[in-house]
Point group: C2
Chain length 168, copies 2
Protein backbone atom coordinates (compact mmCIF):
# COMPACT_ATOMS: atom_id res chain seq x y z
CA UNK A 1 0.00 0.00 0.00
CA UNK A 2 1.25 3.50 -0.80
CA UNK A 3 2.57 5.24 2.30
CA UNK A 4 2.20 8.84 3.29
CA UNK A 5 4.98 11.21 2.16
CA UNK A 6 7.41 12.55 4.80
CA UNK A 7 5.82 14.82 7.40
CA UNK A 8 5.95 18.59 6.99
CA UNK A 9 6.05 19.99 10.52
CA UNK A 10 4.31 23.20 9.62
CA UNK A 11 1.26 21.09 8.76
CA UNK A 12 1.75 17.85 10.60
CA UNK A 13 3.00 18.70 14.11
CA UNK A 14 0.56 17.92 16.92
CA UNK A 15 -0.45 21.21 18.60
CA UNK A 16 -0.80 21.67 22.37
CA UNK A 17 -4.03 20.10 23.62
CA UNK A 18 -4.58 17.97 20.53
CA UNK A 19 -5.27 14.28 21.14
CA UNK A 20 -3.93 11.44 19.00
CA UNK A 21 -5.76 8.11 18.80
CA UNK A 22 -4.00 4.86 18.01
CA UNK A 23 -5.10 4.06 14.47
CA UNK A 24 -5.97 0.36 14.22
CA UNK A 25 -3.40 -1.82 12.44
CA UNK A 26 -6.14 -3.47 10.44
CA UNK A 27 -7.47 -2.31 7.07
CA UNK A 28 -11.23 -2.77 6.80
CA UNK A 29 -11.55 -2.06 3.07
CA UNK A 30 -9.18 -1.15 0.27
CA UNK A 31 -9.32 1.82 -2.06
CA UNK A 32 -8.20 1.75 -5.67
CA UNK A 33 -6.94 5.04 -7.07
CA UNK A 34 -8.67 5.59 -10.43
CA UNK A 35 -6.29 8.36 -11.51
CA UNK A 36 -4.75 11.62 -10.38
CA UNK A 37 -5.80 15.24 -10.02
CA UNK A 38 -3.54 17.81 -11.68
CA UNK A 39 -3.85 21.34 -10.30
CA UNK A 40 -1.65 24.45 -10.28
CA UNK A 41 -1.37 24.12 -6.44
CA UNK A 42 2.09 22.70 -5.81
CA UNK A 43 1.75 22.24 -2.04
CA UNK A 44 -0.77 22.69 0.78
CA UNK A 45 0.23 26.34 1.32
CA UNK A 46 -0.77 27.13 -2.26
CA UNK A 47 -4.27 25.59 -2.00
CA UNK A 48 -7.32 27.82 -1.60
CA UNK A 49 -9.60 26.74 1.27
CA UNK A 50 -12.38 26.02 -1.17
CA UNK A 51 -12.46 25.54 -4.94
CA UNK A 52 -14.56 27.83 -7.14
CA UNK A 53 -16.19 27.19 -10.51
CA UNK A 54 -14.37 30.26 -11.85
CA UNK A 55 -11.06 29.00 -10.45
CA UNK A 56 -8.10 27.75 -12.53
CA UNK A 57 -8.36 24.98 -15.10
CA UNK A 58 -7.35 21.59 -13.63
CA UNK A 59 -7.17 18.07 -15.05
CA UNK A 60 -8.68 14.81 -13.87
CA UNK A 61 -6.42 12.12 -15.37
CA UNK A 62 -8.21 8.76 -15.29
CA UNK A 63 -6.23 5.51 -15.60
CA UNK A 64 -6.85 3.38 -18.74
CA UNK A 65 -8.95 0.57 -17.14
CA UNK A 66 -11.56 3.18 -16.22
CA UNK A 67 -11.69 5.13 -19.50
CA UNK A 68 -14.97 3.44 -20.63
CA UNK A 69 -16.53 4.50 -17.31
CA UNK A 70 -16.38 8.14 -18.51
CA UNK A 71 -18.94 7.40 -21.27
CA UNK A 72 -21.82 9.84 -21.03
CA UNK A 73 -19.95 12.66 -19.32
CA UNK A 74 -20.33 15.83 -21.39
CA UNK A 75 -18.91 19.35 -21.44
CA UNK A 76 -20.86 21.64 -19.11
CA UNK A 77 -21.82 18.89 -16.65
CA UNK A 78 -21.18 19.40 -12.95
CA UNK A 79 -19.51 16.42 -11.29
CA UNK A 80 -18.86 15.39 -7.73
CA UNK A 81 -15.19 14.48 -7.45
CA UNK A 82 -14.01 12.34 -4.53
CA UNK A 83 -10.30 12.33 -3.81
CA UNK A 84 -7.90 11.03 -1.18
CA UNK A 85 -6.10 13.65 0.89
CA UNK A 86 -2.89 11.64 0.91
CA UNK A 87 -0.86 14.27 2.77
CA UNK A 88 -3.15 14.47 5.81
CA UNK A 89 -2.39 12.68 9.06
CA UNK A 90 -5.27 10.46 10.16
CA UNK A 91 -4.94 9.96 13.89
CA UNK A 92 -6.22 13.11 15.65
CA UNK A 93 -9.51 12.81 17.56
CA UNK A 94 -9.36 16.30 19.10
CA UNK A 95 -7.75 19.08 17.10
CA UNK A 96 -7.09 22.81 17.25
CA UNK A 97 -7.29 24.80 14.04
CA UNK A 98 -4.25 26.99 13.43
CA UNK A 99 -4.33 30.24 15.45
CA UNK A 100 -7.20 28.89 17.57
CA UNK A 101 -6.56 27.43 21.03
CA UNK A 102 -10.01 25.77 21.16
CA UNK A 103 -10.15 21.98 20.76
CA UNK A 104 -12.79 20.45 18.52
CA UNK A 105 -13.72 16.83 17.87
CA UNK A 106 -12.52 15.72 14.45
CA UNK A 107 -16.09 14.87 13.38
CA UNK A 108 -17.25 18.40 14.30
CA UNK A 109 -14.71 19.89 11.84
CA UNK A 110 -14.20 19.78 8.07
CA UNK A 111 -10.41 19.58 8.53
CA UNK A 112 -8.50 17.21 6.17
CA UNK A 113 -7.13 15.47 9.29
CA UNK A 114 -9.56 12.56 9.85
CA UNK A 115 -9.40 8.76 10.02
CA UNK A 116 -10.47 8.40 6.38
CA UNK A 117 -9.28 11.55 4.58
CA UNK A 118 -11.82 11.55 1.73
CA UNK A 119 -12.77 14.93 0.26
CA UNK A 120 -15.39 16.05 -2.21
CA UNK A 121 -15.44 18.95 -4.67
CA UNK A 122 -18.01 19.99 -7.24
CA UNK A 123 -16.38 20.70 -10.59
CA UNK A 124 -17.63 21.82 -13.99
CA UNK A 125 -16.42 19.95 -17.07
CA UNK A 126 -14.77 22.37 -19.52
CA UNK A 127 -13.25 19.93 -22.03
CA UNK A 128 -12.89 16.19 -22.56
CA UNK A 129 -9.85 14.37 -23.95
CA UNK A 130 -9.08 10.65 -24.02
CA UNK A 131 -9.19 9.58 -20.38
CA UNK A 132 -8.93 13.11 -19.12
CA UNK A 133 -11.38 15.82 -18.09
CA UNK A 134 -10.49 19.49 -17.91
CA UNK A 135 -12.45 21.02 -15.05
CA UNK A 136 -12.72 24.03 -12.74
CA UNK A 137 -13.62 23.98 -9.05
CA UNK A 138 -10.75 22.11 -7.35
CA UNK A 139 -8.72 23.21 -4.35
CA UNK A 140 -6.38 20.24 -3.77
CA UNK A 141 -2.66 19.68 -4.18
CA UNK A 142 -1.29 18.66 -7.58
CA UNK A 143 -0.99 14.87 -7.76
CA UNK A 144 -3.82 14.10 -5.35
CA UNK A 145 -5.18 10.55 -5.92
CA UNK A 146 -8.63 10.35 -7.51
CA UNK A 147 -11.29 8.04 -6.01
CA UNK A 148 -14.55 8.66 -7.84
CA UNK A 149 -16.53 10.85 -10.23
CA UNK A 150 -20.32 11.09 -10.41
CA UNK A 151 -22.91 13.54 -11.73
CA UNK A 152 -23.88 16.24 -9.23
CA UNK A 153 -27.15 15.27 -7.62
CA UNK A 154 -28.76 18.63 -8.47
CA UNK A 155 -28.42 17.90 -12.21
CA UNK A 156 -28.97 14.15 -12.19
CA UNK A 157 -32.17 12.30 -13.02
CA UNK A 158 -32.00 8.74 -11.63
CA UNK A 159 -32.06 6.16 -14.42
CA UNK A 160 -33.58 3.27 -12.42
CA UNK A 161 -37.30 3.28 -11.62
CA UNK A 162 -38.38 4.29 -8.10
CA UNK A 163 -38.59 1.66 -5.34
CA UNK A 164 -42.04 0.48 -4.23
CA UNK A 165 -43.75 3.20 -2.21
CA UNK A 166 -41.26 5.84 -3.29
CA UNK A 167 -42.14 9.03 -5.15
CA UNK A 168 -40.90 8.94 -8.80
CA UNK B 1 -9.38 -7.23 4.88
CA UNK B 2 -13.12 -7.78 5.18
CA UNK B 3 -14.52 -9.39 2.07
CA UNK B 4 -17.80 -8.75 0.36
CA UNK B 5 -20.75 -10.93 1.44
CA UNK B 6 -22.05 -13.61 -0.96
CA UNK B 7 -23.56 -12.28 -4.17
CA UNK B 8 -27.31 -11.82 -4.53
CA UNK B 9 -28.09 -12.45 -8.20
CA UNK B 10 -31.06 -10.13 -8.24
CA UNK B 11 -28.61 -7.30 -7.52
CA UNK B 12 -25.25 -8.60 -8.55
CA UNK B 13 -25.70 -10.37 -11.91
CA UNK B 14 -24.05 -8.69 -14.89
CA UNK B 15 -26.79 -7.60 -17.34
CA UNK B 16 -26.52 -7.94 -21.13
CA UNK B 17 -24.21 -5.29 -22.55
CA UNK B 18 -22.60 -4.41 -19.25
CA UNK B 19 -18.79 -4.36 -19.21
CA UNK B 20 -16.64 -5.63 -16.35
CA UNK B 21 -13.12 -4.26 -15.78
CA UNK B 22 -10.39 -6.25 -14.08
CA UNK B 23 -10.05 -4.59 -10.69
CA UNK B 24 -6.35 -4.20 -9.86
CA UNK B 25 -4.99 -6.64 -7.26
CA UNK B 26 -3.24 -3.80 -5.47
CA UNK B 27 -4.73 -1.67 -2.71
CA UNK B 28 -3.68 1.96 -2.99
CA UNK B 29 -4.96 3.12 0.41
CA UNK B 30 -6.70 1.49 3.35
CA UNK B 31 -9.96 2.51 4.98
CA UNK B 32 -10.70 2.13 8.66
CA UNK B 33 -14.35 1.63 9.57
CA UNK B 34 -15.16 4.05 12.42
CA UNK B 35 -18.43 2.33 13.32
CA UNK B 36 -21.67 1.06 11.85
CA UNK B 37 -24.95 2.51 10.59
CA UNK B 38 -28.12 0.99 12.07
CA UNK B 39 -31.24 1.47 9.96
CA UNK B 40 -34.64 -0.24 9.67
CA UNK B 41 -33.71 -1.30 6.09
CA UNK B 42 -32.80 -4.99 6.36
CA UNK B 43 -31.66 -5.47 2.76
CA UNK B 44 -31.20 -3.55 -0.49
CA UNK B 45 -34.80 -4.12 -1.56
CA UNK B 46 -36.00 -2.32 1.56
CA UNK B 47 -33.89 0.81 1.03
CA UNK B 48 -35.46 4.00 -0.33
CA UNK B 49 -33.55 5.48 -3.26
CA UNK B 50 -32.80 8.59 -1.22
CA UNK B 51 -32.97 9.34 2.50
CA UNK B 52 -35.20 12.13 3.81
CA UNK B 53 -34.86 14.31 6.90
CA UNK B 54 -38.38 13.23 7.90
CA UNK B 55 -37.48 9.56 7.38
CA UNK B 56 -37.14 6.93 10.12
CA UNK B 57 -34.84 7.32 13.12
CA UNK B 58 -31.48 5.60 12.53
CA UNK B 59 -28.33 5.21 14.63
CA UNK B 60 -24.70 6.00 13.89
CA UNK B 61 -22.73 3.74 16.25
CA UNK B 62 -19.15 5.02 16.55
CA UNK B 63 -16.38 2.71 17.83
CA UNK B 64 -14.74 3.66 21.18
CA UNK B 65 -11.38 4.99 19.84
CA UNK B 66 -13.33 7.69 17.98
CA UNK B 67 -15.75 8.75 20.74
CA UNK B 68 -13.73 11.91 21.59
CA UNK B 69 -13.93 12.92 17.91
CA UNK B 70 -17.69 13.50 18.37
CA UNK B 71 -17.00 16.44 20.74
CA UNK B 72 -18.85 19.52 19.53
CA UNK B 73 -21.62 17.74 17.64
CA UNK B 74 -24.97 18.95 18.96
CA UNK B 75 -28.64 18.05 18.54
CA UNK B 76 -30.14 19.79 15.51
CA UNK B 77 -26.88 19.88 13.52
CA UNK B 78 -26.86 18.58 9.95
CA UNK B 79 -23.97 16.23 9.23
CA UNK B 80 -22.47 14.73 6.10
CA UNK B 81 -22.17 10.98 6.64
CA UNK B 82 -19.80 8.97 4.47
CA UNK B 83 -20.29 5.22 4.41
CA UNK B 84 -18.98 2.19 2.55
CA UNK B 85 -21.49 0.38 0.32
CA UNK B 86 -20.07 -3.02 1.26
CA UNK B 87 -22.67 -5.00 -0.74
CA UNK B 88 -21.95 -3.36 -4.10
CA UNK B 89 -19.80 -4.98 -6.75
CA UNK B 90 -16.96 -2.69 -7.84
CA UNK B 91 -15.89 -3.82 -11.30
CA UNK B 92 -18.42 -2.51 -13.84
CA UNK B 93 -17.25 0.26 -16.18
CA UNK B 94 -20.40 0.28 -18.35
CA UNK B 95 -23.72 -0.50 -16.70
CA UNK B 96 -27.43 -0.66 -17.48
CA UNK B 97 -29.86 0.44 -14.81
CA UNK B 98 -32.62 -2.08 -14.14
CA UNK B 99 -35.42 -1.96 -16.77
CA UNK B 100 -33.24 0.22 -19.03
CA UNK B 101 -31.35 -1.29 -21.97
CA UNK B 102 -29.13 1.79 -22.35
CA UNK B 103 -25.51 1.51 -21.23
CA UNK B 104 -23.94 4.29 -19.20
CA UNK B 105 -20.38 4.82 -18.00
CA UNK B 106 -20.09 4.19 -14.27
CA UNK B 107 -18.84 7.76 -13.68
CA UNK B 108 -21.91 9.18 -15.48
CA UNK B 109 -24.21 7.41 -12.97
CA UNK B 110 -24.83 7.65 -9.24
CA UNK B 111 -25.20 3.85 -8.99
CA UNK B 112 -23.63 2.15 -5.91
CA UNK B 113 -21.65 -0.05 -8.33
CA UNK B 114 -18.32 1.81 -8.71
CA UNK B 115 -14.63 1.11 -8.08
CA UNK B 116 -14.71 2.83 -4.69
CA UNK B 117 -18.28 2.46 -3.37
CA UNK B 118 -18.34 5.48 -1.06
CA UNK B 119 -21.70 7.16 -0.47
CA UNK B 120 -22.76 10.35 1.25
CA UNK B 121 -25.98 11.27 3.03
CA UNK B 122 -26.99 14.44 4.86
CA UNK B 123 -28.54 13.61 8.24
CA UNK B 124 -30.00 15.66 11.08
CA UNK B 125 -28.90 14.86 14.62
CA UNK B 126 -31.96 14.08 16.78
CA UNK B 127 -30.28 12.76 19.95
CA UNK B 128 -26.80 12.01 21.26
CA UNK B 129 -25.80 9.09 23.48
CA UNK B 130 -22.34 7.86 24.44
CA UNK B 131 -20.63 7.09 21.13
CA UNK B 132 -23.91 7.06 19.24
CA UNK B 133 -25.94 9.61 17.29
CA UNK B 134 -29.64 9.21 16.55
CA UNK B 135 -30.28 10.75 13.14
CA UNK B 136 -32.77 10.96 10.27
CA UNK B 137 -31.92 11.08 6.57
CA UNK B 138 -30.32 7.71 5.80
CA UNK B 139 -31.22 5.27 3.03
CA UNK B 140 -28.64 2.48 3.46
CA UNK B 141 -28.81 -1.13 4.59
CA UNK B 142 -28.62 -1.93 8.31
CA UNK B 143 -25.03 -2.70 9.30
CA UNK B 144 -23.38 -0.52 6.65
CA UNK B 145 -19.81 0.44 7.67
CA UNK B 146 -19.29 4.07 8.66
CA UNK B 147 -16.35 6.04 7.21
CA UNK B 148 -16.70 9.66 8.29
CA UNK B 149 -18.89 12.36 9.81
CA UNK B 150 -18.50 16.10 9.29
CA UNK B 151 -20.66 19.21 9.65
CA UNK B 152 -22.69 20.04 6.54
CA UNK B 153 -20.93 22.77 4.61
CA UNK B 154 -24.06 24.94 4.50
CA UNK B 155 -24.04 25.25 8.32
CA UNK B 156 -20.31 25.27 8.94
CA UNK B 157 -18.11 28.29 9.57
CA UNK B 158 -14.44 27.37 8.95
CA UNK B 159 -12.38 27.64 12.15
CA UNK B 160 -8.99 28.30 10.53
CA UNK B 161 -8.23 31.76 9.11
CA UNK B 162 -8.42 32.22 5.33
CA UNK B 163 -5.38 31.55 3.16
CA UNK B 164 -3.47 34.52 1.70
CA UNK B 165 -5.48 36.17 -1.06
CA UNK B 166 -8.64 34.30 -0.13
CA UNK B 167 -11.89 35.99 0.90
CA UNK B 168 -12.64 35.49 4.64
Amino acid sequence: MATRPPADDRWDAVRPGEVVAALPERIDAGLVFIGRVRTPFVDRDACPRRGALDGPLCRLEVDPPWHPALTGITVGMDLEVLYWMHLARRDLVLQSPRHDATRYGTFALRSPVRPNPIAKSIVRVEAIELGCLQVRGLDCVDGTPLLDLKPDRAQFQPKAPPSPGEAP
